[in-house]
Symmetry: C2
Subunit: 345 residues, 2 copies
DNA sequence: ATTAGCACTCGGAAGAGGGGAGTGCTAATA
DNA sequence: TATTAGCACTCCCCTCTTCCGAGTGCTAAT
């Protein structure tokens, strides 16, 4: 059904369109791409490809444009080649990321920035998914007479801290006792199991501190379940306006508004299975109407092989998938390695 | 030099232009605004106003448009009226802000969001300025064999935490001793004085922990001086595209890029004296070229009358200054009150 | 001092025309 | 039988022209 020549024509059109954003005609194609047949033959092939739903005509006397289906075909073939990672580039990017990132926050923000700069697309990064992580340390600290600071450090050394008020006076020593108790009980506990343990008679074991614990438990819970726990970083929003497909202000506005809707973006990025590897959603494949004319490429990053977050790029369907996939792979391994290296014992 | 009738004409033009973004002619003006004289007279006044640099003509046969100087005149007169705050609206906004903001982070992010929604402009918010604040509590916690968590709480209960590695083993008790020592020495110390104290023979007093302290001091310093300490929140970027003055993609891109340049924005917002009250920068008054066609209105927020942060709005020079000033005043007092209420003992 | 009248200006919308890149079909060719 | 050359046709886009109307500045009348 799709012989080699048809593929050759199709890929030539895709490549050309990715660069120029202009419909391609048979003549230009035969001149600039080495197909080896005449424009007339190419026209026939194009006609077939159109019938197969792989090409579209903006109007009857324009050239052809790849359809979403064509991009899908194309990226699927790209994903088969498990391209090797360019060690030199990798090291270069790693250096940049490390130099600017003492903390996870900075690492991710910088990643988004550099990612966007390199690719000239909008970069999205979501922070490590706490629920996949374990409690490494819990500490309660008295910061003033009736204020207690709660600090939770997880196994990726991501710190959450909250200050809350207690009604009855409590001493630093008492807080220490509670801290130690909690550490003993909760150490290495996956955060998503926290809820169960808290509700399972933890209270009885430390009866004398029931008062404080009672206040503490909802706060602990909240700090885990608060959906805001997953942070979103993005960068390069202005780059959207470089692309002719968004020269229509309304289209640009639609996308910009969407990106500013943090909840939607998180929902979208988290919905996809966090399976390892690259994922691509092309144009109409998007669930969200606002993205029906755009594509998203995402990759995961991991600690110890466990997916904990995602990085992604957003742009017109005509994006340079090949390049983006490789860049994302590069960042994926780099971020993973930096997180592992810098924050593990 | 500017008699009442001239002012009447000028203000009518400003008001009309703020709404419509269209140049106004003498006929329309006399029809829709109650000036009380004929178009011909208005034309004469307009001509005078133009000579004074208060009006511009896009071209010889268009109507008139207010100049930056006109807006300056206008807002200066606005700022004289110390308008009373609408208690009802104030409470409404306060409710929204409180309901969504357990933490300072959220409060400010939400403020930006709501501010942008209400005004339909880009909202900018910068987080409390640590240097104006004092140390309330310092705590060191051992989170694993060679990792120490440093937590600094300031008097606005804003928490900074860092994890660092120590070379030599140290016990929790030892860390506690150090914590207590530091608290005693540094409690209530203004953060910007921290550097001095640290370098002034603090080491000698706790000689046995010299090793740890030596590692700690640069980290403490850094956590204060790190320019990233001031966070920037913004929202409503997409709203820029609602305004005809940014229908030119390049203009929109210029502004968007500028806003994404966090350092520049911070520099800009922090440069102005943090004096109490509203500040307005109109068009050409802007230091940054990218903003020469835009205006910025900012207000401060405070704790105990001390300015600790800023909120602002950015849009075309033709913004509704009157409304924006009032909205910012509303938010200013609300944010201040919430910060004081929620986070003070 | 104000206003009516009028010639003039200029941008923007609407329409006409031409050029060019492209298509699909048909007939000739290898 | 697959490929190609030739050709009529299509339709977008660019440019040019025209026309309209809102606006101005000047002058003369009130």
């Amino acid at each position: 059904m799709l012989d080699e020549r048809k593929l050759k024509v199709l890929y030539a059109i895709i490549n050309s369109y990715i660069i120029s954003a202009e419909p391609i005609g048979s003549r230009t194609l035969s001149k600039h791409y080495d197909i080896g047949v005449s424009p007339a033959t190419i026209r026939n092939e194009m006609s077939d490809l159109e019938e197969l739903g792989l090409l579209n005509k903006p109007h009857s006397s324009a050239g052809r444009v790849p359809s979403d289906k064509a991009y899908r075909l194309y990226v699927d073939s790209l994903l088969l080649n498990n391209s090797t990672i360019d060690e030199y580039k990798k090291q270069k990017i790693k250096d940049i990321l490390i130099s600017k990132s003492q903390e996870v926050d900075h690492l991710l923000q910088t990643s988004a920035k550099v990612l966007s700069e390199i690719t000239n697309h909008i970069a999205l990064v979501i922070s490590p998914h706490l629920e996949n992580s374990k409690i490494k340390h819990i500490q309660l600290v008295l910061v003033s007479d009736n204020q207690v600071l709660l600090v939770i450090v997880n196994n990726s050394d991501i710190i959450r801290s909250t200050i809350f008020k207690v009604d009855n006076q409590i001493s630093p020593d008492q807080l220490n006792t509670i801290s130690n108790f909690l550490n003993e009980k909760l150490n290495n506990l996956p955060l998503n199991k926290l809820n169960d343990v808290l509700n399972m008679g933890l209270l009885d074991e430390l009866y004398e501190y029931k008062g404080v614990l009672k206040e503490l438990i909802p706060i602990l819970n909240e700090s885990v379940y608060d959906s805001e726990d997953v942070e979103l970083y993005y960068d390069g929003v202005a780059r959207l306006l470089n692309y002719p497909e968004y020269k229509d202000i309304n289209k640009a506005k639609t996308i910009l508004s969407f990106i500013e809707d943090k909840d939607k973006i998180l929902e979208m990025l988290l919905k996809e299975n966090l399976g390892n590897g690259i994922e691509i959603v092309i144009g109409e494949e998007n669930v969200y109407d606002q993205l029906k004319e755009s594509s998203i490429v995402t990759a995961t990053y991991n600690i110890d092989g466990k997916t904990i977050g995602k990085i992604g790029l957003l742009g017109p369907t005509r994006m340079d998938y090949y390049k983006l996939i490789n860049v994302l792979r590069l960042f994926s391994v780099n971020i993973s390695e930096i997180l592992e290296m810098e924050f593990r014992k």
